[in-house]
Subunit: 207 residues, 2 copies
């Protein structure tokens, strides 16, 4: 299982600093959606230039203009680009077309999708490289939030998948047991007192 | 009925040039999602600085972190910020909270939402200033696409609303007859040989 750090910071400087600390422990470096919107796609270029050996994920959360949005993100240096599962099939297909042209990959993000298992299979059939079973920051903040629902759905869908939704050192083993290809960790790394140590421990927890 | 130009261009320079040509004929200047992602929120600041008397709309299409994404867009100079109707209620509520703190407004964009009438009422109850009945660029490109479905839904919902989905000089009167508060025009202005003339004619068509 690969480890992905989701960098929910707002500036290129903060992203470069965080990536510099944790890159050696992670496989995939994700630029969060607020970072992309705040700083623009030059942030992707900056991270890819600083870490050319890492897979760089632009969390575009595309809802429309799939081919165009994926195209500009891949051109900026992204290796993976996300499209929303709630987007139209033709938006996902357009993004996949751009990915094929660049020999890169599309990740379909199931945030906000009610029937995640069905949509995961559809998105995979449309050409997504893997599917992100994702509970957003706002959903995680709600009372009673539990990661297990995502893990069960991921396990059931039988597609390559990642899990994002507050994964931490206590839950990363359950994510691996559910069969995830990628564990996405955000706050447990970027909000840690020592992000490098947090990333190192998460990496060590993966069997 | 107000006229909104959706600037689906990719650079601040192109946006400033287009806005400079059409601002006198429109009420609301929208920075499209690909522009925000490509150039970052400094694009919003550039347009608001150049056109302080216009309402500036940042088409963030927020799906998560509603309060944060709205906060950074308002801080950059936006007067209106969009959140996706497919987002969680708490994401919309978070964005509305940021809007209230800035005395600005949230627009909920119904792109990709199946039951637009129900979701429009819910979004309005959550505090959206108005609701965008929207068919995306990818949906418009599909065979058989027809604006009338959006107009009927907007009319039925009985909330303040805008219409976006290929509105042009032939359909803007139907948009007004449906009771829309805002007509959103993209390609019919930005792809016109003479964008200023196109905007002027659209403005003149509004009774």
């Amino acid at each position: 299982m690969k480890l992905q750090v989701a960098m929910d910071v707002l500036t290129v400087e903060a992203a470069l600093e965080l990536a510099g600390k944790v890159a050696e422990y992670v496989d995939i470096i994700e630029l969060g959606t607020p970072l992309v919107k705040n700083a623009g796609l030059s942030a992707v270029t900056a991270i890819k230039t600083a870490h050319p050996d890492k897979t760089v994920f632009a969390d575009m959360k595309t809802m429309d203009a799939g081919e165009l949005e994926a195209e500009i993100a891949f051109s900026a240096g992204a290796d993976l680009v996300s499209v929303l599962g709630s987007a139209d099939d033709c938006t996902i297909a357009g993004a996949v077309k751009a990915a094929k042209a660049h020999n890169k990959g599309i990740v379909v993000d199931l945030i906000g999708v009610a029937d995640k298992v069905t949509r995961a299979k559809e998105a995979r059939a449309l050409g997504a490289k893997f599917i992100e079973f994702h509970a957003g920051l706002d959903e995680q903040a709600k009372p009673g939030y539990n990661l297990d629902v995502l893990l069960s759905a991921g396990e059931e869908a039988r597609v390559p998948f990642s899990v994002a939704g507050g994964v931490n050192i206590s839950t990363i083993n359950a994510v691996q047991r559910a069969g995830a290809d990628v564990a996405v960790v955000g706050g447990s790394i970027y909000s840690a007192d020592d992000p490098a140590l947090a990333a190192k421990e998460l990496r060590a927890a993966i069997i």
